[in-house]
């Protein structure tokens, strides 16, 4: 089991540690609900160093990334980030990821920890472009600093003004350490992600500086539990829950990142077919006044018939209502449709709504 460079920090803070995709990760420090609210109202820090960082470098780096991913990488300029996905030839999703354009000949792909080895292997397999593919995941630490006060906190210890637009990044020193500062995150709040290399001492220096700078804002450490409820309030997909090799980007509501007009890429033909015929099912957001908790794998029913299943669910700490994502047969997927969560044999009324669940 791997540990991130913040492991001893988490232990000292008394975090509840779980095994998560091969890493010892903090799931919560105090309470998932309290940590969730800290991010929505002030600022929180997540250790997400388990994420994978893969560098693609070479004259034809752009061509390989274009071929591997569904979004149009040619639209990126240096210092910009793009949300994208890798698909199989049949349109099933290999992984969802972020593409960072470092330069014309270098990209950094940030992938899910659970998929990193699989992704890396697929990149290698499809490298007919003669570029270098380097897995730097073990070298990078990654902290997400998220919440309305995140900018004020980082700016105190950053050697340049944080004038970053959404999905942009730059290189800077934070707490005296060289890093990539990226205005991205998985919470829907104003937030930044800090990528840096170095040993445990460096990692702890960054962590401690952030908490010192954030004292005034009552900055909190936030675990994977709240990371999940925060992303779900926004309706962001989680690989393994809402998307996987059996789902395609069109039915998952990721048509907006699927650029079917760009030149050849893996999965293009299959995805064009889905788009033309219309997906048989759709990932929809649902909300319920019931207090029972919708969870991954529970069924959805309408007029006594099963019409789909839940892929992610929680009780929203902000709305105090049950919220869920799930796949529903397309004919029943319209906003406003009344549907039931099947929870331990009981039908709990819900309604198909629109995203995000929580509006900032």
């Amino acid at each position: 089991m791997k540990k991130t460079k913040f492991y001893s920090v988490h232990e000292k803070l008394g975090a509840k540690i779980v095994d998560f995709v091969g890493f010892k990760m903090p799931v919560q420090y105090t309470s998932i609900i309290a940590e969730h609210k800290a991010v929505r109202t002030s600022v929180g820090v997540f250790d997400v160093s388990h994420m994978g960082e893969i560098i693609i470098r070479g004259d034809k780096a752009l061509d390989l990334v274009q071929y591997l991913t569904v979004n149009d990488v040619s639209l990126l300029v240096d210092g910009r980030v793009q949300y994208s996905a890798m698909c199989y030839p049949n349109g099933g999703i290999v992984d969802d990821l972020l593409v960072y354009r470092m330069s014309q000949k270098e990209f950094m792909l940030v992938v899910n920890a659970s998929n990193k080895d699989k992704d890396y292997a697929r990149m290698k397999e499809n490298n007919t472009f003669g570029v270098d593919i380097i897995d730097e995941s073990d070298q990078y630490s990654l902290l997400a600093v998220q919440g309305p006060n995140s900018k004020d906190v980082i700016e105190k210890i950053c050697d340049r003004p944080l004038d970053l637009e959404y999905y942009h990044f730059f290189f800077a020193k934070v707490a005296g350490i060289d890093m990539i500062v990226s205005r991205t995150g998985y919470t829907g709040e104003l937030g930044y992600e800090l990528y840096f290399k170095g040993n445990e001492t460096d990692a702890e220096k960054v962590w401690n500086s952030l908490f010192e700078a954030g004292k005034f804002f009552d900055i909190q450490p936030v675990g994977l539990g709240a990371r999940d409820s925060l992303r779900l309030e926004m309706g962001f997909c989680l690989y393994g829950n809402d998307i996987d090799q059996t789902t395609n980007t069109i039915e998952a509501g990721l048509g907006w990142i699927t650029k079917l007009k760009k030149p050849n890429f893996i999965g293009k033909d299959a995805l064009i077919k889905v788009k033309e015929e219309g997906p048989k099912r759709k990932l929809v957001p649902m909300i319920s006044d019931g207090k029972a908790f919708p969870r991954h794998g529970y069924e959805l029913s309408l007029d006594g018939k099963v019409v789909g299943y839940i892929t992610s669910g929680t009780v929203s700490p902000i709305l105090d209502k049950a919220i869920a994502l799930g796949y529903v047969q397309s004919e029943f997927a319209k906003e406003g449709t009344r549907i039931n969560f099947l929870i331990r044999g009981k039908e709990i009324p819900a309604i198909i709504t629109k995203l995000p669940f929580v509006i900032n």
């Binding site: 309470s31 998932i32 539990g225 207090k291 029972a292 908790f293 969870r295 929680t314 009780v315 331990r344």
Partner: protein, 126 residues
């Protein structure tokens, strides 16, 4: 970990307080801490009886759902209605305001099979 000596426990982390032939039941401090934020206690409001070792409801925490097992057989006297709106009382006061159900015991000999605080503590330690 708080484990009051005046209560009896099950290996499934329920506690029961005996007063005459009335038992008040909840979950232990250890159980609430393992579950994390509790958001819903799901017990049929029409429930009239609980049966030894059988599930009489479920308790929903943010990360997981867990069955509630009856430490004894008994007739239901009262459900803690405050938990409908404040399920987090189980987190903040598991042995007090976070009690879950009160029953009238039908067979007091069942108490002999429950764990005392020391044995329960030892089980957690192991």
């Amino acid at each position: 970990m708080n484990i009051p000596v005046n209560l009896k426990y099950t290996k499934d982390h329920e506690w029961i307080k005996i007063e005459g032939n009335v038992g008040t039941i909840g979950i232990s401090d250890y159980a609430q801490s393992e579950l994390g934020d509790i958001v819903y206690v799901d017990i049929n409001p029409e429930l009239t009886e609980i049966l030894l070792n059988e599930s009489f409801g479920t308790i929903e925490a943010v990360k997981t759902v867990s069955d509630l097992y009856a430490p004894v057989t008994g007739k239901v006297l009262e459900l803690n209605k405050r938990l409908n709106d404040e399920p987090q009382l189980i987190n903040t006061d598991p042995y007090g305001e976070g009690w879950i159900i009160k029953v009238e015991l039908t067979d007091l000999s069942q108490l002999n099979y429950l764990l005392d605080s020391e044995t329960y503590q030892a089980q957690l330690g192991g």
